[in-house]
Each structure stands twice: as structure tokens, then as C-alpha cells.
Symmetry: C2
Subunit: 199 residues, 2 copies
């Protein structure tokens, strides 16, 4: 992109370094930003540095928050005896959007992946085990992804949880609601078959 | 998105205000940014404000640049007698990527759109006419889009250029290279037919 001059090139490069943003999108964003009111650009820049500087991990569930405890852990109306274990804060947000889950969470910030060299010590498992010891937990729901890494992690965590006598469950895996069987991969179809229930 | 706390919410909101970035993408970007090294976040924030502050319009072709003249207008090896008129700096970039066009450009920063209330006075047409008067121009190539607005603008500019006696051309419109006829809309098919040439 030698056609633009310094400042534009630098902005395009920085934007293109973000996930899911290619060079074309970065160019479109850069030109949009140049056309935005200066105050808005400054607000965006400040939001970036503020978030990076002030956001920390919730002392209990390890999700990102501004405070010692995240809004969910600090909420006395939630069921603090049920912990849903998820890989990322985005997965937590996905379940929160359903509006139906009333327990609390534990964010691992990753999944065990021997391929990528991510072991149990690299995700926030120690913090989960500490919670199981200190708090009165009745159930641990494993909601890691249904990828190889997610399954491996679920298996690993379940083996740690079981000896404590705490109930340990795994979210169901199968055909998504509204999914057309024709377009669903075979592994999912077989898993849906294995997980069939009486109606 | 009441699930995140202040700083994250603000960042998600700011990011979601950019074109083509929905709330989900904004969330994913925000969490990625929180995990980036602080120095990279600061570089991104600085690139944003720097671009907004220092980027101005090329005195000649009106594209975005850091300097009085953009690199293309300042380049003595380009053919300064041929001006390609485009709607946006991104369109200029698209033609530059072909690596074959040797003339210079004129960026209108928009297109005439009675629907949106954008008249000839709202785009950089006056600057184009000044160039046609002052510089020795042999040809004006109209490369505005093939949308209604692009066509209207091309028509309008051609009517201004013709009385000056300068050659005025329009880029061809038709079936894109590699395009499968089956998937191309009828207007394009008819235009390709109208624009047929002897082989």
C-alpha cells in the first residue's frame, strides 16, 4: 500500500493487525476514521488505552472486569452454588445473552491443547479448584467448546472435579436448533444420535 | 451488553460505531485488544489520532495525504495530462493496485445523489474544473461507480468537461472477468450487450 502516505499507511497496518480485519477492511476503516469528527477519534483511542490499562481479572470467576469482582459474581441474586466453566469471556457473554442461566461462571481463558503446547497449567484451572475447595459448590457445568481442545479440557476438568464429590455435567452436543440435517457434518450427526433421549 | 463492566462496554460501543463492525465483532475485537501488549494498544491509539490530525487533502487531486501533494501528484514520471475521476480514495487505491494506470487522479469524495441530498457543490468538482483550466489536460477518464449515483455523477461531469474541448471518456461497464453469466444481474448483462465490441 505504497500509495498512501505515512500516517494512513501506519493506521492501515495497525488495524490490519487485529483479528478478522484484512488489508481491504483496514483501508476502509482508516478512510472512515480520517473522516470522523476529531472528538470521536479521540474517544475511540481513549477507550482502547483505558480498556487495556484498567481491565483486570475477576478475583472469583477470572473474567475481564474493572473491579475486584465482576458484576455477575458480585450479584447476590445469582446461584453461587453452580459454576459454568467456559473457555473465554465471549463464551460467558453468549450464555448470558440467553438470559436463562442463573448460576455463576469460571473463565479458563483458553483450552488444553497439546498441539499448541497449552497445558493445564496455562489456563485458569488452579483458580477453579481453589473455588471448589473454599466455596460451597453443588454443580460444575462444563461448557467448553465441542472442538478437540474443548473436549480434552472438559475431560481433564471432570477428572479433577469428580474426586471432590461435586456433581459434574457437560452441556449437550448435537444438531443446532433450526439446523438442516443435510448441511450438518457427520461427527455432529453421530454425536446427536449417541446423545438421543426418550420423548 | 450489561455483562461487561464500564471500560469494556465503552470500548465495544466505540468499536461497534465503525462501519461493518457489529456488536459481536466489536466484542471479539475488544477482548483481543485487552489481551494485546500495552505498547501495541498505545501504538494503535496513536495511529488513530495521528491519522485524524495530520492527514489532509492533496492540493491537486484531493486524495488524503500527509503533505501538500500526494505521492502520485508529486511523481514526475506519471502522465499529468490524463486525469481519472474517482469517487473515493479507496477507488484510487483499487486502480493503483492494477499497476497499469500511469495518469493522475481526481478524488471527488462522494457522488451526486439527489436521494441523499448530495449536490454537485458537495463533492470536489470545483477543484476538478480549476485543474482543467490551469493545467494542460488531454483526457478526463470518468471512473465513478456504476451505481445510479456514479452514473449521474459521470453524466454531470461529462457535461462540464465537453465544452472545454478536452477528451472525456467513461470506463467500460459489463461482465466482470471470470464472472459466470448465470450469476450476473440482468442490468449488467444488458449493459455488456450494449457495450459489445468487434473481435
Amino acid at each position: 500500500m505504497e500509495l498512501y502516505s505515512g500516517h494512513i499507511n501506519r493506521l492501515v497496518e495497525e488495524l490490519a493487525g487485529l483479528p478478522g480485519i484484512g488489508e481491504k477492511t483496514a483501508g476502509r476503516l482508516a478512510f472512515h476514521i480520517i473522516g470522523m469528527p476529531q472528538s470521536r477519534v479521540e474517544r475511540l483511542a481513549k477507550a482502547l488505552t483505558d480498556a487495556r490499562e484498567h481491565v483486570c481479572y475477576c478475583q472469583s470467576c477470572q473474567t475481564f472486569t474493572d473491579d475486584v469482582l465482576c458484576p455477575i459474581c458480585a450479584n447476590g441474586n445469582r446461584d453461587h452454588g453452580t459454576i459454568m466453566v467456559v473457555e473465554t469471556a465471549r463464551d460467558l457473554a453468549a450464555y448470558e445473552r440467553t438470559g436463562r442461566y442463573e448460576g455463576v461462571y469460571h473463565v479458563l481463558h483458553g483450552a488444553i491443547s497439546p498441539m499448541l503446547g497449552i497445558g493445564p497449567g496455562d489456563i485458569r484451572l488452579k483458580e477453579l479448584m481453589e473455588r471448589l475447595e473454599k466455596e460451597e459448590i453443588r454443580e460444575v457445568i462444563l461448557a467448553t467448546g465441542s472442538s478437540l481442545e474443548g473436549e480434552t479440557t472438559a475431560m481433564y476438568v471432570s477428572k479433577l472435579v469428580k474426586p471432590t464429590g461435586i456433581r459434574c455435567t457437560r452441556i449437550a452436543s448435537g444438531v443446532p436448533v433450526g439446523g438442516d440435517l443435510e448441511y450438518i457434518d457427520e461427527v455432529t450427526l453421530l454425536r446427536a444420535l449417541d446423545g438421543r433421549t426418550e420423548i
